[in-house]
Point group: C2
């Protein structure tokens, strides 16, 4: 975490802007959740649905951010990037977990994050149906639920044999060496579960689960979550130990020891 | 559905008993959700956690049922069966989805169902964290959320190519022919998702998803859900078209046409 950045001198405005933005987005997404939706296929191969909710919610989030911070860059999943000379850049995913969204499952989330140059300095994940908010600014990571604020603290799990691990689906480990590495790690953990996108990172920050390994994430899938993860005490990086802010092959763990045990296995397969 | 059964002459008492039972269970389960738990390994191989929440909640559910219907049989997941001469038998799973429960994921549920001889005549699934209740008695299946009651109506999806399918994890299809059959079906559906136990059947009844295929379910995993599924308009059976009330290899679909398309594929693999 970068703490000497100017914007963190006013975390109140920062926090209020993120909360206002996600509230505006929820007014779009929540009424469309579990309703009939016009679903388009973003990719001709496979199934990557984009909904009206997704685009309209991003527009609302951008409006709130632009009002508070007109000179900042904005990178969203749905609309064109706004690129300025300012080192502050917002990264937005209005509906992370669109597959959960269209299945009626309340494990999707709205992601809003802030980078200073290439370092995550604030982030928010909200689940409008459950009303849960996970937010990080400065040194804090907090859980807001039913009007109560509690600190997010990751678990102290240090070994794969004790770890609960999540990934969206093993099918995403498309390369045989990736899949072999994943399978070896899955064979060592206490419990492996599939399918909850951003909600898994929120559960990691909450100390409920211990490890997440995913290939090929986009920037908007992970950048908004970095401050939440790191301020809870957990760690996140790419599989080759670089910063996660640009996306890519991502690993997040409750402790550095657990991260390293998993990275050693990934390293062994991916070196070849 | 069996509608000439005596107990359905008083669906009010039946519904109130189920709601009171799940409310009593929630008072045990919800405070332990996302808290530290003593987790035991039910099986020496694999990972089948039983929590204190699970046992205590079942005890509470049994107390409520025994007060209302002292002569009925009761089959629970955790405690000894109560077997009487009465044809009415309750089937209880206090925490279906214990893996979700211990991961902090709000997709587990409390299941309470009633069989007359071998026919499901009532059932309830509740998710205490979200406050959602799915309940069926007589001819009705309803969703209770934030004080509002709405009918549960399954989708009209008739073809695999349009279907959203759920299964807990493909890894449960342990036999190679089972796995091959599952994989062929997964290759044909619009979207396949993993990992939400009873919540998937609730989403099927809600018309959000279209198909669920799972091997080796216990009676308590499925019997309480049958009335909810059937009264929403959806269908459920074993893979060889027998009643699902005893558990086994289960398939549930939004329409008979969709069920048959999937069963034809299962049949082709499992006949050999």
């Amino acid at each position: 975490m970068k703490l000497d950045t100017k914007i963190l001198q006013d975390t109140k405005t920062l926090q209020e802007t993120m909360l206002e933005a996600t509230k505006a987005a929820s007014k779009i997404t929540l009424p469309l959740f579990r309703s009939s939706l016009v679903i388009e296929n973003k990719l001709k191969q496979g199934f990557d649905p984009v909904t009206k909710a997704d685009r309209d919610a991003e527009q609302k989030i951008r409006e709130v951010i632009e009002r508070a911070y007109p000179s900042h860059s904005i990178f969203g999943e749905e609309l064109d990037d706004k690129i300025t000379n300012n080192p502050y850049a917002w990264v937005i995913d209005p509906i992370d977990g669109t597959r959960a969204f269209i299945s009626g499952l309340p494990t999707w989330g709205t992601l809003i994050g802030l980078l200073d140059d290439k370092t995550a300095i604030a982030g928010l994940m909200s689940q409008p149906f459950t009303g849960e908010i996970f937010i990080a600014t400065g040194k804090k990571a907090e859980y807001i639920y039913q009007g109560k604020i509690t600190p997010l603290i990751s678990s102290t799990t240090k070994n794969l044999s004790e770890a609960i691990m999540f990934t969206t689906t093993p099918a995403l480990f498309a390369k045989p060496t990736q899949r072999a590495a994943y399978d070896e790690i899955e064979g060592k953990v206490r419990l492996a579960r599939y399918g909850v996108d951003c909600y898994a990172y929120a559960l990691l920050a909450m100390g409920q689960i211990d490890l997440i390994i995913e290939p090929d994430l986009k920037q908007c899938d992970i950048a908004p979550l970095i401050a939440i993860i790191e301020n809870s005490g957990a760690v996140v990086s790419t599989w080759n130990k670089k910063s996660a802010h640009n996306g890519g092959n991502i690993i997040a763990a409750a402790t550095p020891e657990l991260l390293n045990e998993a990275l050693d296995i990934l390293d062994r397969y991916l070196r070849d």
